[in-house]
Symmetry: C2
Subunit: 271 residues, 2 copies
């Protein structure tokens, strides 16, 4: 399906786009099934939060309408939404009133091996560490060189994802997923106040786990916490949940809490 720029079919942007010049913008990657964008409210909540923190001028209701129309036309696939701080002449200074530019792109749903969900995955231990930047932490912004470097540390299919720590060695997330661990039936995930991307499925799991009677804790996590975990999984809003079987010398198997949350994720994402 053709891309849209500001609601018009278009496959290019001008060279003065601040997304290209400075990574000055945000994005969302949304699963579309049966013409519906899944977890849309969560995606738009994060987008709105990002616009406020970066002072991007966007009408999120208009974005919502466009995403709904695009998804209906797409039917099934991945909808990528990029918001950039429009175009500008050279220089970091921006017109504070300039409306954000909206880009919508489609790609096929990725064909991950079914064993990733059914059995689990190995994580590659990335040497690339996440920097601490509280002003950007949690946002899905366009400054993603850390993820590019981390993802390109491994090739081939032995590893489905990578484990990323911050510069202090805290366990944060995957390269394109959030990470959870379970210890004594409590669900833990990293506090993302200093770095990391606050995933939409992560937010949904944190909210719904409590109503499933699972106690939840968001806090700093160490490699020792990972070593002590009973279960570990990664998740995102495209593939749902993959149990983690190992990273480096550590080994786990898919356990009951992971399976319970997997059922929830499959329902949320029509998997």
């Amino acid at each position: 399906m053709h891309s849209w720029v500001d609601g018009v079919a278009q496959s290019q942007v001008g060279l003065n786009n601040r997304g290209l010049a400075y990574g000055d913008g945000l994005f969302e990657t949304i699963a579309v099934r049966g013409g519906r964008p899944l977890l849309l409210d969560r995606h738009l909540q994060r987008l709105q939060w990002g616009c406020e923190r970066l002072a991007l001028v966007a009408d999120v209701r208009q974005v919502r309408d466009e995403v709904l129309a695009y998804a209906a036309a797409l039917g099934e696939g991945v909808l990528k939404l990029i918001l950039t701080r429009g175009d500008s002449p050279r220089g970091y200074a921006a017109d504070p009133q300039a409306p954000a530019r909206r880009i919508l792109q489609a790609s096929p749903l990725p064909g991950y091996p079914p064993s990733h969900s059914a059995e689990g995955v190995q994580l590659f231990p990335c040497r690339t560490r996440l920097a601490e930047q509280p002003l950007l932490a949690g946002l899905k912004h366009l400054n993603r060189l850390e993820q590019v470097l981390a993802r390109n540390e491994w090739q081939g299919s032995a590893y489905a994802e990578g484990l990323m720590c911050d510069l202090q060695g805290r366990v944060i997330e995957g390269v394109y997923s959030n990470l959870f661990l379970i210890r004594d039936a409590v669900l833990y995930t990293a506090d993302l106040a200093r770095c990391g991307v606050a995933g939409t499925l992560r937010a949904e799991l944190l909210e719904q786990a409590q109503s499933l009677g699972i106690q939840v804790k968001v806090c700093d996590l160490t490699l020792q916490d990972l070593a002590n975990a009973d279960e570990v999984f990664v998740c995102n809003s495209i593939y749902g949940i993959w149990p983690v079987l190992g990273v480096d010398a550590l080994r786990w198997s898919a356990g009951p809490v992971t399976r319970k949350l997997q059922t929830l994720a499959c329902a949320l994402l029509d998997l």
Copy 2:
């Protein structure tokens, strides 16, 4: 003058360009006078170093030839060179062999008030702090949200530049300049091993100051070092050197070392 993409006149890039998607690339901003790109070897050295660190595949001799041809046609202005990791489908993984895409753009030389050089400037004390990321430190990469946030902390002409510290409070640089201070006739500038952009004029000054008999020290700098400085200046390869007159409650005046280096910078940049 028209922009070039991979050597061809063009004003747009495709939406799959990784510069737009992830800020996955590098840039250089080069002053052009009399058809010549100034400090070209320094710019290309930094570009080469960036390509090695980001594993970008680029033929820097080809880039050099294109920059020379573009500058000759431009005559006078600012040449902006962007290298991105080409186009790719959605996802952080990149083809390790994909050649970098070359973008050349022209803009007029900025019309800064002559008093910035002659008398000096006030710095805005930016609240935005630089994150520590040794893998990216020094590079002029396309992930520039910190600079965008910092530059947009002030409006108007009372401040010509901003002072940026890292998250530990160390004094690092300006938003689009490097910063030097002079104390007891020794020239100091921040070590950029954790964050900051290693400017081309900075590199030139560090090298040439020693041959002018000025002792040079690259090290961590604190606000106390700034408070104790006899002279402070900011510099970049477009405007040269501006003496710094003040930031917050601190005050300096343009001194003899600054003036000596200003003469050098003016010669290097045809100012």
